[in-house]
Symmetry: C2
Subunit: 197 residues, 2 copies
DNA sequence: CCGACTGTAAACCGATCGGTTTCCTCTGTC
DNA sequence: GACAGAGGAAACCGATCGGTTTACAGTCGG
């Protein structure tokens, strides 16, 4: 049976392209950009031939997999656009999701920060994609901070971004197991920014 | 003239071992662990033959270079053991040094966090060395927090470590240029921990 | 039943890399 | 000056990797 088919007679459960993107996202995350293309193809159940006619190069696949991952990641860490509670709760929601993810086994930090750190080249296509995602997160914090009436919304947003990346990094390298640390820290900074609600 | 000699007739200015460790520290930092051994040897002015009789493997050289770097790094970021001002100023001193380093061109984040992130393998010898250095920093924060009479010294120490790594990471990937952000954030957390002095 | 097409499996290619070895030059010693 | 040792330059080796190509199996429209 051809891999990727759910059952005989049905259409492909997932396209070769999606399987490749998923496998790439996971393996690049777990093993870093050094993972051989053969491994990616084997896990995805796709031949190298197909991979190279779907993507120009390994680097292009890496960038595409980060791009592909973005909607799911932001959706899982950012609250829905018009969620009930106020901006304070919406900001803290992000850190609750982070703690949740960091607690699960196999957590290795933020995939986008990790990619940028591992690549060490801001001009790399994948780095550009990662930077855009990280930027979106900063924008979210800034918008909420402004809505909440923070003394300096831009400062608070950057502070929260620092806490997010610091907590993710330290959890990812096993230097801390968080356990409320990110939420508590973000909360303290939000308080210090003059937000009471 | 043989590289590494300061002038004819004098003894070697630096040993081949030290030149190798310095070159490794810089190139691993700038290019990541993927840097070829030939490049390391060329920059160090040492033959591969000598390198491999000084170090067992490339990985061993990486670990040794991180170990070699540790005293200088901690000395440059931690205040002298019995510096005049109180614990609050001593903690903030670390973040001032961080901002200073992050402002210089070519800054790519904390070398130890970067190594652990890039290697993605906590059991790697270099990761173990890096973890030890990061741990030393956490211990410094905890000791100072306790001296300062923080409500929860362990919590404050972990918070400051998070801010340190977050600020270093974000500055390293070009997501933020700090400019007081680390100091201001650390200061806010220290205040929130009930330290007035 | 046929030919065009799609995609897999696998051989293949050239380059690169970690690590070893060979050769030779330079140095210091007696 | 002979000689031993250290170390640099560079060839070399086997493995791996990114990427290409060939060969073949399955599928679909006619």
């Amino acid at each position: 049976m051809t891999p990727g088919k759910a059952a005989p007679g049905t259409r492909a459960a997932t396209s070769a392209r999606d399987r490749l993107l998923d496998a790439a996202a996971e393996l690049f995350y777990r093993e870093g950009p050094g993972i051989p293309t053969d491994d990616l193809c084997r896990v995805a159940g796709v031949s190298k031939r197909s991979m190279y006619q779907l993507f120009d190069s390994k680097d292009a696949l890496l960038a595409a997999s980060l791009e592909h991952l973005a909607p799911a990641v932001t959706a899982s860490v950012l609250p829905a656009p018009d969620t009930g509670p106020g901006p304070r709760a919406r900001m803290l929601y992000v850190f609750e999701r982070l703690e949740e993810a960091a607690g699960s086994p196999g957590y290795l930090g933020c995939p986008y920060a990790a990619a940028q750190v591992a690549l060490r080249d801001p001009s790399h296509t994948a780095s550009v994609v990662a930077a855009r995602v990280k930027r979106r997160m900063l924008d979210f914090f800034r918008a909420e901070a402004a809505r909440a009436g923070a003394t300096d919304p831009d400062l608070l947003a950057r502070q929260l971004a620092v806490v997010y990346d610091g907590a993710a990094t330290r959890a990812g390298i096993g230097a801390d197991d968080l356990g409320g640390l990110a939420v508590v820290t973000a909360s303290a900074l939000i308080d210090a920014a003059g937000i009471t609600e």
